[in-house]
Symmetry: C2
Subunit: 625 residues, 2 copies
């Protein structure tokens, strides 16, 4: 007997699909290409996928009840991931669960680098002289002749699709025409022509393809103004949380194809979101720049990442070809160019190149460092003379993974925390009820626990602790940060000794990487004149406490600046400046990668860093718990 099928219609966008009985509403949404927030991957623990049933019968799972008030339950609220379909349903996605409204913090905080705007695709308005019998050169020669007069550039390629419409475009616009001209490594190419003056409608997309989160901006190319920014979880996460597991998945039969398709689909969805309610046509978006780590860049372009994870860690490419939107199935102008920022090595990607570019490290004589804290911690140190970099697997602790109550820096995450006289105070993102701790909250938490002598510098709880928040559950010591009654999840938010152990390993790996890299090049950490800290901490990182736990080096605080998402900033800069894009290539070639996995001192540094703040107290003279 065939399984029964039911129709699920999603409002307010009014899109329907049919699913087999027993499928969840979240699965129906996926099938209908309707995006609902989903942070926990469908485990029913994040409470983000709240939807309201308008018509049709469903059953509210006990597990889900904790997420709703009595009133909400009466109004038909359920969790999309926990609710199965046994009836035709009409489902309203409330604003807070919609992806397009999701306040994924794009976290770009860097003060705008001064750039001269000279976009990688230019629009130039031309009034061509009309053909006469004395001047009857071909349409394309007429166009490139006037372009040359106006710009001084020589030699234009022209796409065949552009040539195919040139004849009618010229005549419909009475020889007033706006060509779109893309910079290519080897010259210029006319990728589109429009009649009349369209230089006003000229847009580009910058994308940070993160392992966990994908963030896209739409940029007005003439002014550099960011018209919108939006983010979504990287859907590849459901195939594997970290790059290694995604590589393994990709290297199975057609795994690469699947991972490639879902990221393209997500970027298209983000672009659609960016355009909603804006009077911008897809055709007027004529460039996109993407930045991501080497694996993300490979998956974006459909390149086999298999050898990235195997010694000797070889990617297919580090410089990626310029491709067209058409080739990539990105729904903007089909002839739009897509640039993927170059990588340095298998574990130092275009995101770091973007960061080095955005922070201007290669522009200045003084030694500057960038530390990008994510699942991998990547570090670059250098100046206008030299650049070195390395990466260390830090684990997902600072992105909310690997800890009992960790979460990403989204609504309801505790991102600031203090303990004073045994009393805990905290702030959450969006001032919502607390649901967990994001990276910056975890850093604060560890710092406060050790400062208040609740845990010891080795990360273990004090044996003689007398605190009702402390308990041992199933043999694991834990400490309640937020009691169940205050929590947005109706469950207590706790930190366990295992969590603390993981966090110490993560911060230890990052600090050890930085220390090893400095030693390798023969400088002391105190010689760093400026330290930029990037990463998915939302909009907040307490520098003092990050030093306090030994994540960041103990250098004068004014030298350290938290800069948020530098990958996105770098991508946007490259969109707006062909010189910056060239600079990104130069940076990627100039940067020397130190392979820590085969660099013995790193292991010693790592072991030494598994302490709060460090086994060698002399490295942290200002820290005195």
């Amino acid at each position: 007997m065939a399984t029964k099928k039911y129709q699920v219609n999603f409002m307010p966008i009014n899109r329907s699909t049919f699913v087999e009985e027993g499928a969840t509403i979240a699965e129906a949404a996926q099938k209908a290409d309707v995006y609902i927030k989903n942070l926990c991957g469908g485990q029913g623990i994040c409470g983000q996928c709240r939807v309201q049933i308008i018509s049709g019968k469903v059953e509210l799972e006990d597990k889900a009840k904790a997420f709703f008030s009595k009133e909400e339950i009466e109004k038909g609220y359920v969790l999309a991931c926990q609710t199965k379909v046994y009836d035709n349903l009409e489902v309203l996605i409330p604003p807070e669960s919609r992806m397009e409204g999701a306040k994924i913090l794009t976290g770009e905080m860097l003060k705008a680098t001064e750039i001269e705007i000279e976009p990688i695709v230019k629009k130039i308005f031309l009034e061509l002289p009309k053909p006469t019998i004395e001047d009857n050169v071909s349409d394309s020669t007429r166009l490139s002749r006037e372009l040359r007069k106006k710009t001084g550039w020589h030699g234009y390629d022209i796409s065949i699709s552009c040539l195919r419409k040139l004849n009618s475009t010229l005549r419909e616009g009475d020889f007033k025409i706006t060509p779109s001209i893309a910079k290519h490594r080897n010259g210029y190419k006319i990728i589109d022509v429009e009649k009349n003056d369209t230089t006003d409608t000229h847009y580009g997309i910058a994308v940070d393809v993160g392992t966990t989160t994908v963030v896209a901006q739409i940029v007005e190319m003439n002014t550099g103004r960011v018209l919108g920014v939006t983010g979504a979880p990287n859907p590849q996460a459901s195939y594997g949380e970290d790059v290694i597991s995604r590589i393994i998945y990709a290297c199975n039969k057609n795994g690469l194809g699947e991972l490639h398709e879902v990221i393209i689909k997500t970027i298209n969805q983000l672009i659609q979101n960016l355009l909603s309610e804006k009077d911008i046509s897809l055709n007027s978006i004529i460039a996109m720049v993407a930045a991501g780590n080497t694996t993300m860049s490979h998956l974006l372009l459909g390149l086999m990442p298999c050898t990235i994870r195997l010694e000797p860690y070889v990617p297919v490419a580090d410089i990626y070809p310029q491709v067209t939107a058409k080739e990539m199935n990105i729904n903007i102008n089909p002839e739009a160019i897509i640039e993927t920022l170059p990588s340095v090595a298998s574990y130092v990607g275009g995101d770091i190149v973007a960061g080095v570019l955005a922070c201007g490290i290669a522009e200045r004589p003084e030694i500057t460092a960038l530390i990008d804290i994510g699942t991998n911690g990547e570090i670059a140190i250098g100046n206008s003379e030299w650049l070195v970099c390395c990466s260390a697997s830090a684990g997902p602790a600072f992105e909310g993974g690997g800890t009992r109550c960790g979460m990403r820096a989204t609504r309801g995450a505790i991102n600031e925390l203090s303990i004073s006289d045994g009393k805990i105070t905290y702030k959450t993102i969006g001032n919502a009820k607390p649901r967990g701790l994001c990276g910056s909250g975890l850093i604060d938490c560890i710092y406060e626990l050790v400062k208040n002598k609740i845990i010891r510098p080795d990360g273990k709880f004090e044996r003689d602790i007398k605190d009702e928040r402390f308990s041992v559950v199933d043999g694991i010591p834990q400490y309640v940060i937020v009691p169940a009654e205050e929590s947005g999840t109706k469950q207590p938010i706790v930190i366990t000794e295992t969590d603390i152990d993981n966090l110490i390993k993560s911060k230890g790996a990052i600090f050890a990487a930085m220390k090893s890299l400095a030693d390798y090049i023969g400088i002391g950490l105190d010689q760093i004149e400026k330290l930029y800290v990037a990463g998915g901490f939302g909009n907040y990182l307490n520098i003092e406490k990050a030093i306090g736990i030994g994540l960041l080096p103990d250098i004068p605080r004014e030298k350290i600046e938290f800069v948020g998402n530098t990958s996105l900033a770098g991508a946007r800069i490259c969109l707006l400046s062909e010189k910056a894009l060239e600079k990104a290539f130069i940076i990627s070639r100039a940067m020397t990668n130190i392979e820590l996995s085969v660099y013995q001192p790193f292991m010693d540094e790592f072991v030494a860093a598994l302490f709060l703040p460090h086994t060698n107290k002399e490295l942290f003279p200002s820290i005195n718990y």
Copy 2:
């Protein structure tokens, strides 16, 4: 009531189709993509589409009976274009009617120009050092690094499709790899990679896209050896015989799309024919060069030709972009590059540029001319310092059109003719029974008629002619060249006063163009040191008689050389030499086009040339009838 449908199966290729009752066998063949020779366009007068009915009933039209012997009729021979389908049929296409066996004379007669073989797409075998932890650059960097070592070139683009297979290709071939590298105006691009050494299998296609005939060659790129050549009528002819009527068709709704598709289909068919019984894979064909007049090049690339025919005669492009086979739906390696030779102006195309290149006109200090006789007569004159050209509409007379018994230079065409003591002797192509007169036969015929005083120098028959071959039918004087009983069509082959008039206009236009061009640049025709004559005359042209009717100038005979199809020769040279392709671009830019339609002296010259050999006898001192 629905029309009845019948199945028609074509042997020996065993391909079937269904057609509505009353459709002709020729139409069924077209529908089934089976090519049958068809010179008269389905009028039942050329007798080329002979097929044998193996099973099923058909009726032989009276009109067609003339083409067959009694035995053939008994065996079931019919003309495909005259025979309607009222039964399921099995049809054998005999060898002489098959397109793949058709001896369309490719007519390339030029002595091979000495070229240094350096194909526009190269294959280079590399054994790459395997990656180690000390040398773990990306696959693409490893590849381009070794390429640089071997070739000294810098900077490689790489196609995305190529990058997508690089990782596995390298490892399957144990780091032995053969990249295919295309020359692009701005540098080099790796378009394919194959494991192991595949430099032996390296092919290209040269195509002459003529208004009437399309000819393709397959060339071994390492040696320059031509492995095969084949031709087919340009199927666009059924939409209009000359370029003007095709432009008009193209500029109607979707007309361009249709004309573009049929020429692509024909080229694909020719490639398939070239490969039949050869052990060559489509993927090993990695380049194609096409040459054609400006309109043919536009239709090939899908460019709007509308403004070519309207004053001031502006084409969309004169330099055409390099495109990929994939973009053009040409069935060779999808990443193969396709170059279309550049045009000079709306009526001086890449075919002439190819001719100037193949004849080496721009290489030599002495003044050389090329005259390409077709529906348009194009003339180029120049040397290593300067080049000028022009075109004149000659009409289709020399290609067998516009005359009662004219035909193209294929089997059965009279291509040589003499009259002596009232007796006519002739030769036909393939020594077949005569079916008509091709261009060279018509030239001989006019010459012999005037020499033997059957016609006067003004092209009219002598009033007092006493010759049983002469008669006046429907008021038009005509002369029997071959009586019905000798003819392959069972109809007499005649030449009429109207035919002669048309031929005089054609030769007059070409000579006037040449004379005007020489006057324009201030040289006498006697200053031409070498005159190459190209055109669709098959393998034969009687220079003496061509001078005798005033088509060619009266200069020493040893200065004149008949070179056949220089368009194809030039295309092949460009396939084999990137320097030659560059030279073609230079030639197209260097050549000055003189627009005769607005050059008053041309009209005067034309009127003066409407005489045999010319009104000014001083121009033809050696001609004395």
